[in-house]
């Protein structure tokens, strides 16, 4: 039996008192809190071996190199990549998606498919690539509840499709896309599939091989790790065949100078995609975050969040003025709920009120998912409120949210 109270105590931020009261942090879909174990791992790097990895042969340099490689192995294990070199360190999922969009070979005139539910980071890199290289971009509409009809995918993916980019778990509705089925449809037609796992990886067991995806984009800051860190998973043969994103130091095998010409030859992945001095502390912290989550157990985290989400969905459904965006069924979702309150015009007002009056920290706005909000007829300025749960949240947090929303409705009616 998992001791969730002990886990909660690993997160120093939750000991803070603001305006004389504890905080209720429900914004993990944007940024997770950090456990002391991750902070200690990063601090250890800065205190004990803050040197360059890969290039300095002294003892500190060797220690960094070992820790950096070990962190990559931990992330590969976390998502079940077939080998660590298939995991590229990036700044975030956005950068991971941009690397794919800019560097993978796609035949001119072929079709790229994305969806109306994507985070801007999942669609815009492909919108721009399509414009640049004369590709056709097709958008599969999510249903208004954030789920997909697999028949729409069967119709959209054809022999001319070269790539499909789809959000695995929506940052607005929390709905989980049928990635495995979509991957099979894509592969049957010879297309590649990119899974935006920014919201999925922190909350569910993720097995990239079992899902059959070609690429997966992950943001470490959403999974108890440091900011400025992400991972791009790619199948090795694809990473090998892709163009480089950045070039420079640490990407090269040799740079010859002959007859006035500079002639580089480059290293294989992952070095090919990791130009320049790396964020060693970030990578080491990322490895520690993967260790931490694995030690708790991703199945346990998933179940814990489902329990919190079920309570939240039940309670919010009972408040007449609340409109839940997406299904009110926790089994179809990652642990988050977006909603509107009919008595308050702007979602920002709801989030401000919760913060000011109750120290309840939610996100408001369009969540970088403009197309889906427009699809629902919600102007970006009105937006939605999003409460997102993680392993350190408790049923008390859910109760606090529901009580505050009831008070808000009364105060605004």
């Amino acid at each position: 039996m998992t001791d969730w109270a002990r886990i909660r105590s690993d997160f120093p931020t939750l000991r803070r008192m603001i305006r004389g009261r504890p905080i209720v942090y429900l914004d993990s879909a944007c940024m997770s809190l950090k456990p002391k174990q991750v902070l200690a791992a990063m601090n250890e790097y800065y205190e004990m071996y803050p040197a360059c990895g890969g290039r300095s042969l002294h003892t500190l340099g060797q220690e960094v190199s070992r820790a950096y490689s070990a962190a990559r192995e931990k992330l590969a294990g976390f998502i079940n990549a077939s080998r660590p070199e298939e995991c590229i360190w990036t700044r975030n999922a956005t950068e991971s998606l941009n690397i794919v969009a800019n560097c993978v070979a796609l035949p001119k005139g072929s079709k790229v498919i994305t969806t109306s539910l994507e985070h801007h980071s999942g669609s815009l890199p492909f919108v721009e690539r399509a414009k640049r290289d004369g590709l056709r971009l097709e958008v599969v509409n999510a249903k208004n509840d954030g789920t997909f009809d697999i028949e729409d995918w069967k119709r959209a993916i054809d022999g001319n499709t070269s790539l499909v980019s789809v959000v695995h778990s929506s940052n607005v509705t929390g709905t989980i896309a049928p990635i495995r089925e979509i991957a099979e449809l894509a592969h049957d037609k010879g297309a590649l599939i990119v899974s935006d796992d920014a919201q999925y990886a922190p909350h569910h067991p993720l097995d990239v091989q079992k899902l059959g995806v070609d690429f997966s984009a992950i943001s470490i800051h959403k999974m108890c790790g440091p900011t400025g860190m992400g991972v791009l998973y790619g199948r090795m043969e694809l990473l090998e065949s892709m163009r480089m994103f950045l070039t420079g130091g640490d990407t090269v095998r040799d740079v010859r100078y002959e007859n006035g010409q500079i002639l580089p030859t480059y290293l294989p992945p992952p070095a090919k995609f990791e130009a320049g001095l790396q964020n060693y502390a970030g990578a080491i912290g990322s490895g520690a975050a993967a260790d931490y989550l694995k030690a708790v157990g991703m199945d346990q985290i998933e179940q814990h969040e489902k329990s919190l989400l079920s309570s939240a969905l039940r309670g919010l459904s009972d408040i007449e003025a609340v409109q839940i965006i997406g299904p009110a069924d926790a089994s179809k979702k990652t642990g988050l709920v977006a909603f509107r309150v009919r008595t308050v015009e702007s979602a920002h007002d709801v989030a401000s009120y919760l913060n000011e009056e109750y120290n309840i920290m939610c996100r408001s706005g369009w969540h970088c998912a403009g197309p889906y909000h427009y699809q629902l007829g919600i102007q970006p300025t009105m937006g939605t409120v999003r409460a997102s749960f993680y392993l350190y949240n408790s049923q008390n947090d859910v109760k606090a949210l529901l009580g505050a929303i009831r008070a808000l409705v009364e105060a605004s009616s």
Binding site: T343, V344, E345, S346, H348, D349, V350, S352, Y353, S364, G365, W366, H367, C368, G370, P380, T381, M382, G383, A411, S412, S413
Partner: protein, 79 residues
């Protein structure tokens, strides 16, 4: 007046021209072409609300929660 961000200038201009407004009213005004020269942040509006809150802390505007949500108003010089 203390130096304020561009988004805060945007909020101040809107409130100077319109009197008191709801949050939605400010965000809609920020998207109008006549304010495009200083109100150019993301359509989601988060940053304008953050800027408005900064102005409250600076004592330049007030905010009151009531029916429909928050209303924002310039603090008059005589206050």
């Amino acid at each position: 007046m203390p130096a304020v961000s561009r988004n805060a200038e945007c909020v101040l201009r809107i409130l100077r021209n319109t009197g008191n407004l709801t949050t939605a009213g400010i965000l809609e005004a920020a998207r109008r072409p006549e304010n495009a020269d200083i109100c150019s942040d993301c359509a989601g509006g988060d940053s304008f609300v953050v800027a408005a809150n900064e102005l409250v802390e600076l004592g330049l505007i007030t905010r009151r929660f009531g029916k429909g949500g928050y209303r924002w108003q310039l603090v008059s010089v005589s206050e």
